[in-house]
């Protein structure tokens, strides 16, 4: 099997316990290269916990999380510190509750995401002090990348405003842009459509579909909005009580009895109907 055809992310036997509570139990799934993989499940199913393990936020109690790059290098995420996961394993993420650097400008938010590249180019600031030409060029290139992503998310006019002053939907898109500025191979989005109105949600779909596969980008997604999940996912993994209960294409998931039962078993009947019909809840 060549490196290119192996999944970008392989999770194997992942377990996470908080004291007596088992949040994730023996979970195994993989995310294919260049695809959008969605992680869905009722509230409290352990989706965000999985994300936190993948991005180094939590150290899993057991199991392996492996990222495999195009060039064949692989990284065992369960034992890497957070900043290395971002900068070496090239995994970036966004949060369910927005965590921008609210006091910094949009442009600066995107430049912080390119910190490592710039620090190397400036020989850890020393080069920048003595005005090495390479430093100025790297800084310009970083600003170009930042501008590119501001254009992609439609915020280029507000580049110098403080990130905290943006309306909610724009902050969500800025978070995605910031994650992209770290140059990720795998982008993990935790409920990117939460709180968006239908038009913003459609724009988000377009953005994600256009990003998928670009420079080999793969996306792992947690989402409650079934309209988004069913429309853009290539592959869906369903969790309930920390365990995988189903996986497959949107069509397969829609008709899976275990999934329907899991969603109908909880109080939120509308979501269950949404899963089965693919409509927005």
């Amino acid at each position: 099997m060549t490196a290119g055809s192996r999944p970008i992310l392989e999770v194997d036997g992942l377990g996470m316990r908080f004291g007596g509570l088992v949040a994730v139990d023996g979970l195994a799934f993989s995310a294919q290269r260049g695809q959008i993989t969605a992680l869905i499940g009722p509230n409290g199913a352990g989706k965000t916990t999985v994300f936190n393990c993948v991005t180094g936020f939590y150290r899993p109690t057991s199991g392996r999380i492996t990222v495999q790059h195009d060039d064949g290098r692989s990284f065992a995420l369960q034992s890497m510190p957070g900043h290395r996961i971002c900068h070496q394993a090239k995994v970036a993420r966004t949060f369910q509750n927005i965590r921008l650097f609210a006091g910094m400008s949009l442009l600066e938010n995107l430049l912080v995401a390119q910190h490592n590249k710039l620090m190397r180019a400036s020989l850890f600031t020393v080069g920048g002090l003595i005005g090495l030409p390479g430093f100025a060029a790297a800084e310009r290139a970083a600003v170009e990348i930042a501008k590119h992503w501001l254009e992609r998310v439609g915020l280029v006019d507000r580049a110098d405003d403080a990130a905290g002053d943006l309306p909610y939907g724009d902050q969500r898109r800025l978070e995605i842009a910031r994650a992209m500025c770290t140059g990720p191979a795998l982008l993990c989005l935790d409920e990117p459509a939460a709180g968006l109105n239908p038009r913003e949600s459609r724009e988000l779909n377009q953005l994600l579909l256009s990003m998928r596969g670009e420079n080999g980008l793969s996306i792992l997604l947690i989402e409650h909005d079934m309209g988004v999940v069913m429309e853009i996912s290539d592959h869906i993994v369903v969790l309930d009580y920390g365990k995988k209960i189903a996986e497959g294409t949107p069509a397969q998931i829609r008709n899976d009895p275990a999934v329907i039962a899991a969603y109908l078993g909880v109080e939120d009947e509308e979501t269950a109907i949404a899963v089965t019909t693919g409509a927005r809840p």
Partner: protein, 312 residues
Amino acid sequence: MEYFVQQLINGLTLGSIYGLIAIGYTMVYGIIGMINFAHGDVFMVGSFIGLLLFLMIGLTAATPLVVIILALIGVLIVAMALTAVWGWTIERLAYRPLRGSFRLAPLITAIGMSIVLTNLVQIAQGARVKNLPPDIKDRLAGGFTVLRGADGFDAVVSYRQLVIVGVTVTLMAFFTWLITSTSLGRAQRACEQDRTMAALTGVDVDRTISITFVIGAALAAVAGVMFLVYYGAIDFYIGFVAGIKAFTAAVLGGIGSLPGAMLGGLLIGLIEVFWAGYVGSEYKDVAAFSILALVLIFRPEGLLGRPEIEKV
């Protein structure tokens, strides 16, 4: 009028020294939310390193002024470098292992670290007051008359005061540039706002915090050498009072704010000097701290600080 101008000059000089120390407090507070009570003693260590370097160079009364100024620059650079190593070591030994511990833990180790440094220098250098060789002091003592008084009192700016204010302004400009326009500064501000998120965007948070301590210690060393040149005499205990004053300056200006620290330092220096000049030197510290109490009552976030907004 001459008297007023003279006090103004003296106040600005003293305030510059406080401001340089205050930056160390404010930067560390900004990034890890901790008051580094050992910072005043780092200033004292920097001052002693400066003194030892001056003694090693061994300047005499015959040394030309140019050489003395070059020596001063050399001493500043070496003292900054060595004190920075102290700052880095303190953070590594006393604070980093406690990161993620409860809030008071690093505060207590900071106080412990302060006692360690004070006693270390006391044992190593003795408890007596140490003097800068009079040759150096006298050579830098000359100055310009800025305002000639009718009654024979002239307002004078000494070379030492010019050096102190000049170095402070240069360093302030440089560090303001560093914080606002370099990648390192952006990383520092990002860590200030959300350390976890900064790590997830690829910033090495531990290293950024270390660099903050290194910068703070280097600036404290500059303040230490300036203090040495200005007063000509130091002992192992100067870090305590200067540290408390600089901390007051940082709070007065708005802790976490770089321009605030500088402004606070200048204000504390001016208040102290004017109080001593017009009211009497007995209660000058009381005056400085009373102003602090008033600011805390009416503007708790400090003069240039941002009010904390709790988001729901």
